[in-house]
Symmetry: C2
């Protein structure tokens, strides 16, 4: 549906560019914003601009941050010998939420995906290699447990192996609270492979 108002058409088209928002959802958002107060719309627009202006990527670990290098990279209380390699910045936040991990991170910025044209040079893999020095004791490969994530972990494994640094991969198994009966075959296979002494 084309609108007679160019301003409205423009807003709908801009909102439709966002992931998970189609033209119909964009229309609904626009109608909501038209009914909302001016302050609300300005609040939203300014928050987006302020966020974009203030937040940058850490030049060491490529996590998002307001100061460069980021608070994790400059922290004196964290274990600088461990680097956890993840695909995206939201993975860092998910791991931080557990409160269990005290090392550093390295955000790749995605996963290898030949189908989508993402090769090693599109990720921060070279930057990871330059970070590795005598003080690195362990690299945790925490890419997603899907095809792209596993391929990326395998690629990193082969690349880092010659450096003789300890490498680990996060465990794949049954999620806590789930039931064996409903688990898929691959997850169950990984859960059996990764069984631990009790």
């Amino acid at each position: 549906m084309q609108y007679s108002s160019a301003a409205m058409e423009q807003a709908i088209s801009e909102l439709s560019k966002l992931p998970g928002i189609g033209r119909k959802s964009a229309q609904r958002l626009v109608f909501h914003l038209l009914k909302a107060s001016n302050t609300e719309v300005q609040g939203l627009a300014n928050a987006l601009l302020a966020m974009k202006e203030k937040i940058c990527f850490c030049t060491v670990c490529f996590n998002i941050t307001e100061v460069d290098p980021c608070q994790i990279c400059t922290s004196v209380t964290r274990d600088r010998g461990t680097i956890c390699v993840v695909e995206e910045a939201n993975d860092v936040l998910a791991i931080e939420k557990t409160g269990e991990y005290k090392g550093l991170y390295h955000v790749l910025g995605g996963a290898l995906s030949p189908l989508e044209g993402v090769g090693p040079d599109d990720l921060h893999i070279r930057d990871l290699l330059t970070r590795l020095n005598g003080s690195t004791n362990e690299i945790i490969l925490a890419t997603n447990p899907n095809t792209e994530g596993e391929a990326t972990a395998l690629y990193l494994e082969k690349l880092i192996k010659p450096l003789e640094i300890k490498m680990t991969r996060i465990a794949r198994g049954l999620p806590v609270g789930s039931a064996i009966e409903y688990a898929d075959e691959i997850t169950l296979t990984r859960a059996l492979e990764g069984r631990m002494p009790v």
Copy 2:
């Protein structure tokens, strides 16, 4: 999950206020915007502000417009004797898309809903009554065919009846392309009630 960046937290909280966007979706949007170019984010923010600045509500029919009164209300080619009463401005756009209707509109701004605290005074019902004059031949009640919409139509029917203006309600029946087998009982009842001579 709380973020260390206040700017990011603010953007997430503003986006979560939009209908159909929860905190998780807002997070995904924010991560998308952080990866997007500055121009893209500015484009989005400016489109929203421009839309809000340019678009207002027509003081006659309460449809959204860039000029007040709106193009439909001031049109000389449209049938000024017919007023189609709808709940929201997007209903106007949906009806305009058919290209079949040549009369005027009146946007109520919602439907009666005692549960949500929406009473007659919250809608543009009084404004509708003041629009009605000797030249109004027909009022088409095109509120949604759901509980609130039907209640609103019934309310308007009783209110306008003493004025002795012809009132019609849009037909409820089977959607084109559907099958009787899968139609719900109420729709089928309405389809039978509204049967037309062939």
